[in-house]
Every structure is written in structure tokens, then in C-alpha cells.
């Protein structure tokens, strides 16, 4: 097993005048055995970053090391990694067994060793009865497991996942999430997992990298990222509904944006006056959209309340009070946490 070190990694597509830089100097240290999730909106460069670690994409600047080796100039097969692709990328004409065994065959692993490894992986992933089938005879979830099996049998230093769950339906996705967690607990292999889904990120990650437009906005545990977002981007990207950001909050200094999560606003008898604009019921909880009028403009403030609380009337005026220790302050121009 191994750690992964990214130091000032840059990536540009194309060259000369048409060069398009998509990763702008990312540095991060992923510990041995850690499960790190890279999360961000689509197009922010998550896959590019992962593919540079895999060796499928050239590194334009900076250095990537796996363990103590700098891997910039190594072929993917020499990096001791395994990757699970979004569309699984199984060889359509090979049986499940051959799909998993192919890499080992090329590496000239002895036949009985190959069989032992594939059988073991098939047992972990409950694929035993499908070993002779072709990928097209499997369901989406089973294909996904074959793709994971192909990664496991290589016994790599590092697992790389590029949105492996996004082609599954919601129920299967939740189930597979648990399986991946269990797999990581059992095998303890350093993993880098890319997703655009913040729920996936929060539930899977030991630490997460939040990316935006080719920049690493924050790197920390899910708790840290949730409790102390490093920027307004992270504040709104992580958490659903997103954090309320108020530019000219009453009593705040100019140039400072105040952030407060919907669950940290309490409806009280006196305090900040808002007009109820809309209501949403989500079963166990309720979202109240309060309109805060100031000057000519207005801002919508979301309040999350438990189902036990009385329901405010649409159009009525309510008063809310933020919990003082849960307020976040950001620089309005840079968006950074103050």
C-alpha cells in the first residue's frame, strides 16, 4: 500500500495559443490506506486529476508520487494502480472470469494463482455463479461489481474510481456505497474516488477534496468541510439545501458575507423579520423560504424546521434568530472564509 502525493499539479489540454488550462496547481497528500473522495460540479477537472494519477493523461506541470516513486513518466500498468470506470469498460467479448484475469495473464501470473485470485474476488463480490457469462448478460449492478473485481485481483497499491456509481439506480447506489466502504475496511487499500454527488462524498470519504474550476477549494474530513467550509463555494456546494449566504446582513461589516445553514436558524418570537414565500414538506422536516426585503432587492433565506414545530402561514411574517456559534463569515470579494 502507498500514499499519493500531488505537488503543484497542473494540466493543460492542447498547446501554444489554444492551450486550455483545466487544473491550476493542486497539492495534496493522501495517506496510506486512506479513502479520499474528490467532489465538485461536473467539468471542474475531477476526472482529469484522477486520470493523471492513473497515467492516462499526461501531467503538464508538477509531480505525482505513489509511495516513494515519482510516477510522472510511468505507464499506467507500471504505476501499481487499478481503476474503475463510470461505464465499467468491460471487454464485451470476454467472460467475467477473463475480464478479471486479463491483466494478470498479461503480467504472466501463473494460471492457478490467477484462478485463486479471481475466485477470491468473485466470492467477495458474490459473482461466483456469473464467471462464465459475458458482460452483456449481466445487470448494471453486476457489471459494476465485475469492474471492481478486475481492480481487486490486481492487488494494487491504489484504487481509482471515476464516478462508478452514477449509472446505477438510487437504491443500488446506496447499497453499493456500503459495499465499497466494507471493501475498503477489509482490504485497506488507498483509494481515490471521484464523484459529483455530495451525498456520496459525505458518506464515503474519510477525507474529501472539494474542487471548483480546477482549484482545490478545501481538503478535510466531511465534518470539517461541513462545519467550517473554507469558501462560499464549499458552503453552498456541500449541504442540501445549501447554506444561506447573506451579503448585507443586518449588523455585519461591509464586504463580509454571512453564512448560516438552514438548520441553524430558529423561528423565535422576535428577531430578524422575514415574509414566508414558500413552504416545502420533506417528511421528517420542513423547509420554509423566507423573503428578506432590504432596499430595492430581496434575498431568500431557507429555514429548516422539524415536523413538530407549528407551520407558519404563507405570506405571514416570522422572526428568526441564528445560533450565534454557527455563523460563518466570508470575504465577499474573494469568497474565502474569514
Amino acid at each position: 500500500m502507498a500514499s499519493i502525493t500531488l505537488s503543484k499539479v497542473f494540466k493543460s489540454y492542447g498547446s501554444g495559443k489554444t492551450a486550455n488550462q483545466v487544473i491550476h496547481g493542486v497539492s495534496a497528500e493522501i495517506h496510506d490506506g486512506e479513502f479520499v473522495v474528490v467532489v465538485g460540479p461536473s467539468g471542474c477537472g475531477k476526472s482529469t486529476l484522477l486520470r493523471m494519477v492513473a497515467g492516462l493523461e499526461e501531467i503538464s506541470g508538477g509531480e505525482i508520487s505513489i509511495g516513494s516513486r515519482v510516477v510522472n513518466d510511468l505507464e499506467p500498468s507500471e504505476r501499481d494502480i487499478a481503476m474503475v470506470f463510470q461505464n465499467y469498460a468491460l471487454y464485451p467479448h470476454m467472460s467475467v472470469f477473463d475480464n478479471m484475469a486479463y491483466g494478470l495473464k498479461i503480467a504472466r501470473v501463473p494460471k492457478d494463482e490467477i484462478k485463486a485470485r479471481v475466485d477470491k474476488a468473485a466470492k467477495i463480490l458474490e459473482l461466483g455463479q456469473y464467471l462464465n457469462r459475458k458482460p452483456r448478460e449481466l445487470s448494471g449492478g453486476q457489471r459494476q461489481r465485475v469492474a471492481m473485481g478486475r481492480a481487486i485481483v490486481r492487488q494494487p497499491q491504489v484504487f481509482l474510481f471515476d464516478e462508478p456509481l452514477s449509472n446505477l439506480d438510487a437504491k443500488l447506489r446506496a447499497h453499493t456505497r456500503l459495499e465499497i466502504q466494507k471493501l475498503h475496511r477489509d482490504l485497506g487499500i488507498t483509494s481515490l474516488f471521484v464523484t459529483h454527488d455530495q451525498v456520496e462524498a459525505m458518506t464515503l470519504a474519510q477525507r474529501m477534496i472539494v474542487m471548483n474550476a480546477g482549484i482545490m477549494e478545501q481538503f478535510g474530513t466531511p465534518e470539517e468541510v461541513y462545519a467550517r467550509p473554507a469558501s462560499t463555494f464549499v458552503a453552498t456546494f456541500i449541504g442540501s439545501p445549501p447554506m444561506n449566504l447573506i451579503k448585507e446582513a443586518p449588523g455585519a461589516k461591509p464586504g463580509v458575507t454571512v453564512g448560516i445553514r438552514p438548520e441553524h436558524l430558529d423561528i423565535t418570537d422576535s428577531g430578524w423579520a422575514l415574509t414566508v414565500d414558500a413552504l416545502e414538506t420533506l417528511g421528517a422536516e420542513r423547509l420554509v423560504y423566507g423573503r428578506w426585503q432590504h432596499g430595492e432587492g430581496y434575498e431568500l433565506v431557507i429555514i429548516r424546521c422539524d415536523e413538530g414545530r407549528p407551520v407558519p402561514q404563507l405570506g405571514s411574517t416570522i422572526h428568526v434568530t441564528p445560533r450565534p456559534d454557527r455563523l460563518h463569515y466570508f470575504d465577499t470579494t474573494t469568497g474565502k472564509r474569514i
Binding site: A54, A89, L90, H93, I106
Partner: protein, 284 residues
Amino acid sequence: MVERRPVLTFVSHLILVLGIIIIAFPLYLTFVASTQTAEQITQSIPMSLVPGTNLIETYRTALFGGETSAGSNLSGAARMMWVSLVTALIIPIGKTTISLLSAFAIVYFRFPFRNTVFWLIFITLMLPVEVRIGPTYEVVASLGMLNTYAGLTIPLIASATATFLFRQFFLTVPDELVEAARIDGAGPMRFFRDVLIPLSATSIAALFVIQFIYGWNQYLWPLLMTTHEDMYPVVMGIKRLLGGEAYTEWNVVMATAILAMLPPALVVILMQKWFVKGLVDTEK
């Protein structure tokens, strides 16, 4: 769907039966003629439509030649069938090999003037053998390839249709498959052999059938470049039986025609499953 109605069923069957008769009757006539003697064919007008008794004799003469009852000396089609078979096998095998490799190069490798190369190949699509037959003859003649298998096949192997076909197919293979193979440690030729070729199997089969028939049916090119009797393909042989001697042995002509039809028909029948699959769907 069309409704099931007795009248419609009858009409559609009638049309189908008529179609079959139109196509099958000449074949039947050919067969019947090949079972009679030359005298029977020329003397009874119209020709009898009942198979005669001379089948074995006619086919022996057609295949191995010899003196006929009318006194003409025929050379027999066995050697010509062999020449045709070799030609018709070399052409699809050569063509598939070359076009698979060149399509692989064009799609998966970055080299200078890649696009130019593709367009050059593409342009040759517009030049069938007949158009470039003069210069091709010059080249083949000056290379001393007249009356050789090389001369019979190489100019027909060089064409872009198949390259184009495989290029289009390779472009539909997902990039992730290439990447998965790279991570698995497969080099380019290994990927070509283990992944691309198996995936192209049905296209290869379809192409093989088409090119086999194309090679088997060549007439103009062999006519131009073969002068030795032992390099004549069978299609030319039929024509020679018609023209050369004073008296046309129709039964032998028809038997030779049947013999010439058999191998392509066999190839189509044997490879039917693959052939249709290759034309209709691709497994991805």
C-alpha cells in the same frame, strides 16, 4: 403490421413464387443442360426440361477435359477452379489483414500527416480496378508479375473500402476500453489482437464473404494479365468454351457454369450466420 387476410396472403405468396421462378428457372435450365449430351441439347428444340442421364460424363469432361463425342479437345476446369480458389482466398485474407492494420494505425496512433493518409486512402475508394486498369497493367507487367498469383491478387487487394469500414468500426469502440487495456498492461499490438480483432469478428466475416465473391468473379483483370492457360480463372474458362472451338459443347459449358457457381454459394451458406450478423449488428 399488415393484417392477415386470405387474399393478401395469396397475393403475396404468388408474387414470391413468381420471383423464385424468375430467379431459379435459369439455374434449373443450366443444371438440366449439364445432365444431357451435347447432341440432345442441339437437336431437340426446344430443349427438354427433364434431366438427362449424362450427368457424370459431362461433369468429368468439364472438370478434367478430354476428347468429346463431337471431336473437340477440351482442357477441363479443375486447374482453373484451383486458380480461382487461390485468388479468391488471397484477396479477402490480404485485404482484411492490410485494412485492419491500416485502420488500426489511423485510429489509434498519432503520426505526422495522419489525416492526409486517411484522405489518400479515401480517395482511392473512388478509383475501382476498371478505371486504373491501364496503369496497373503497366506496373504489374514491368514488375514481371504477369501470369502469377501475385499479379492476379495484389492489384485487387489494394483498395480502401475495407480500411474505411474498419476505421468506422474502431471509432465506435469506447475510449475507456483502450484505457482499461492500458491499465491492464496490454501494449498496442496486444490490444489489437485481444480486443479489437475479436470485436470485429462479425465485420471480418461479412467482409470475407463479400471479398471472396468479388475475387472469384473477377473477369476483366485476369483476361488482361494472364496469357498462360494454367493461370486462367474459371470465369474466363466459361467464356473460352463459348468462343474458341467450332462447335460449342453446351452441356460442358453449363456444367462448368454450375461448378463456377458452387464455391461462392458454399461460402455464403456456410458463413450465413456470421455474414448476416456482421451486416446487421455489431456486438459492443
